[in-house]
């Protein structure tokens, strides 16, 4: 397989609050490829969104990236650069032209005090060498491309004058304003109704085909993953517990957590009037992070004491990895 555009290694992000340190992202490895979608899935609070912000280098204070590398392969194919180590000014040149973000709440993601045109052209003027008129023309083209009707008129409207679906389209136009190669979509369809959801996913797919966009799709919805993703990373408590191609994940899930997630998807094949299986318990509070495998208190396939004392290392090769003692890696001293 080709070299990844973006490759995250051992990413750690923690929030130092008054009550102690919270490790929101605790050693995440991810690879994103051109023209492919990486689905990042997990329950709320597992560190998906913080991972996205860490990649962009925009974690809110008091949070900060404490360790790890984020390798970005330059457009001309040179040697990858660790963007986590770049100075702030250089990071800003990456946000927008290289990596862009689409957010879950289209209403709240826009400022209500400026027209959408103002907010789109702002990014264009900042990163591209275009004058105001050309930037405006480009913004209208972008709106047209994402399927906003009458873009020349809409460009001067305020976000509160648009419908929810339209707003999310504009959001995508805004993200694509400077031709990024990687698009991070953080729950892009959660706030939308089912029909609009499907339209937005279609739009993302067609944009990916046209431009060879690499997409990181963050969601808690296994259905969206099945529909959109080529590769999947399942996250639990700040860590990717299982990664692999989408077929592998759905057909041969290896981690008990992945299996539990898949069981909890409602299907039309299910026997009527049976309860949908849910995952026992809830995500532990990050302060009381369990010792050993973080999933062991909820795990139905627990091996034994080793799960409570040791953290399972990643097992497997390149694009197919799992962190679970069921698949090996039990340390010698715990045998």
């Amino acid at each position: 397989m080709a070299e990844p555009i973006l490759s995250v290694r051992g990413l750690h992000t923690s929030f130092g609050g008054q009550e102690g340190l919270v490790r929101a992202v605790d050693g995440v490895d991810l690879d994103v490829f051109e023209g492919r979608t990486l689905g990042v899935v997990g329950e709320s609070g597992c560190g998906k969104s913080v991972t996205a912000r860490s990649i962009l280098g925009i974690v809110d204070r008091p949070g900060r990236v404490t360790a790890g590398q984020i390798w970005l392969r330059p457009a001309d194919g040179g040697t990858p650069v660790d963007i986590a180590a770049l100075p702030e000014a250089a990071k800003r040149k990456i946000r927008g032209p290289e990596i862009a973000l689409v957010f879950q709440e289209p209403m709240a993601s826009f400022s209500q005090h400026y027209t959408i045109g103002n907010q789109i052209t702002e990014a264009i003027l900042l990163h591209m060498e275009l004058d105001k008129q050309a930037a405006r023309t480009r913004a209208i083209q972008l709106l047209d491309m994402v399927g906003v009707p009458q873009p020349a008129r809409r460009i001067d409207e305020y976000p509160f004058q648009l419908s929810g679906g339209l707003r999310q389209r504009v959001m995508i136009a805004l993200a694509l304003a400077c031709d990024p190669r990687v698009l991070i979509a953080d729950e892009p369809t959660t706030a939308l109704d089912v029909t609009t959801q499907a339209q937005i996913l279609d739009l993302l797919r067609s944009l990916q085909q046209q431009r060879g966009l690499a997409i990181i799709l963050i969601t808690h919805d296994m259905g969206v993953i099945a529909e959109m993703a080529h590769d999947v990373a399942v996250m639990y408590l700040g860590r990717a517990v299982e990664t692999g191609p989408v077929d592998e994940i759905f057909n041969r899930p290896q981690h008990p957590y992945t299996r539990a997630l898949l069981r909890s998807i409602p299907t039309v094949m299910a026997t009527p009037r049976t309860r949908l299986p849910t995952i026992e318990g809830s995500i532990p509070h990050p302060f009381n992070r369990p010792r050993g495998c973080p999933y062991h208190p909820r795990c139905t396939e627990k091996l034994g004491p080793v799960c409570e004392t040791h953290e399972p290392p990643p097992i497997g090769t390149g694009d197919r990895q799992v962190r679970c003692f069921l698949h090996g890696g039990i340390p010698d001293d715990a045998r």
Partner: protein, 329 residues
């Protein structure tokens, strides 16, 4: 937009009317009619008012007729600029008030500008650098501003400047300039004396507005549009100033509109402590001496001035907030 202006204008006129009624009530409140007290006062100082003079005065002010007729007569003379005569000074009220009204306005307005100039940047700083030493220091200063009534602050500053520098910090002019006619030099003299009383007057409001600005901006800073603005690669200061500060400006500006009456009120009381030639000391003197035409006129003029000031603040607010403009379209 026009509807907004018209509504504000109607409200303003109504408020002015209400103030005129209150002023009239104040004029009427002392027991007996004021011609009696006028005669008594003149008698105390040795002059005598003849019975026919008294009758013609009663006629002029409509005394003995129903209250609303008296009010009407008073009002119709007030709109022509005839506010009656001060008993204490034996001169027309307008003459007694003289420059004092404008100086009150200058002082209040200076305090208003100062409040803006201080509260906005400090509020932004405190929110962006939440829990920093600077934030704590400003929070402490803010609590002092809220807890120390401004007349007390004026007293304390007077005392310490007297103790430490042996200087009297009161007044709006140097003694030599006090009686001079207006000139460039006198204006400059005023400018030099203005900062201290304006700061004392502005402190309480500034403290409040810093808190409002800080709280609102903290709310705004957590909103997703800040993240998307950062994700666009904007420099941090531009992200903050263009988006969340812009949003936090609205509640800030609408609180500012209510600040003006508050400052006018405050100017009265600190003027007395600092001995400033505003209408404040005059009002208290007039009230103590029951010189009701003077007192009522000052209350009326202050009220009208406040309403006009608030109206202008409202217009500024409208200009700042695109949502008000758009709702009205």
């Amino acid at each position: 937009m026009i509807a907004f202006v018209v509504r504000r204008l109607v409200m303003g006129v109504f408020t002015i009317w209400l103030i005129s009624v209150v002023s009239f009530v104040i004029i009427q409140l002392p027991p007996g009619d004021f011609v009696d007290s006028y005669i008594a006062q003149l008698a105390a100082s040795g002059s005598v008012v003849s019975a026919s003079e008294a009758v013609s005065m009663r006629e002029l002010y409509g005394l003995g007729q129903p209250m609303y007729v008296q009010y009407g007569k008073w009002l119709s003379r007030v709109v022509t600029g005839d506010f009656g005569e001060s008993m204490m000074w034996r001169r027309p009220v307008t003459e007694v008030i003289g420059d004092r009204l404008w100086l009150t306005l200058v002082l209040s307005f200076a305090a208003l500008l100062l409040t803006w100039a201080l509260a906005l940047p400090i509020g932004i700083y405190s929110a962006v650098r939440q829990y920093s030493w600077g934030d704590y220091a400003f929070t402490l200063l803010g609590f002092i501003g809220i807890a120390v009534p401004n007349f007390l602050l004026a007293l304390i500053i007077m005392y310490f400047s007297f103790r430490l520098f042996g200087a009297n910090v009161g007044g709006l002019f140097s003694p030599a300039m006090q009686m001079e006619p207006w000139s460039l030099a006198k204006t400059w003299d005023l400018m030099k004396h203005l900062p201290l009383p304006a700061t004392i007057l502005a402190l309480a409001g500034t403290a409040q507005l810093i808190r409002i600005m800080r709280a609102n901006l903290l709310d705004e800073l957590r909103k997703p549009y800040v993240v998307t603005a950062r994700a666009r690669g904007l420099p941090e200061w531009r992200v903050i100033v263009k988006y969340p500060v812009r949003a936090a400006l609205n509640p800030f500006a609408s609180n500012l509109a209510y600040l003006f009456p508050y400052l006018v009120s405050g100017s009265i009381i600190i003027s007395i402590v600092l001995g400033l030639p505003t209408v404040g000391p005059l009002l208290v003197q007039a009230l103590v001496a029951q010189d009701m035409f003077l007192a009522g006129t000052i209350v009326l003029l202050l009220g009208v001035m406040t309403v006009i000031g608030t109206f202008i603040s409202d217009l500024v607010l409208m200009w700042v907030d695109p949502r008000i403009r758009h709702q009205m379209d």
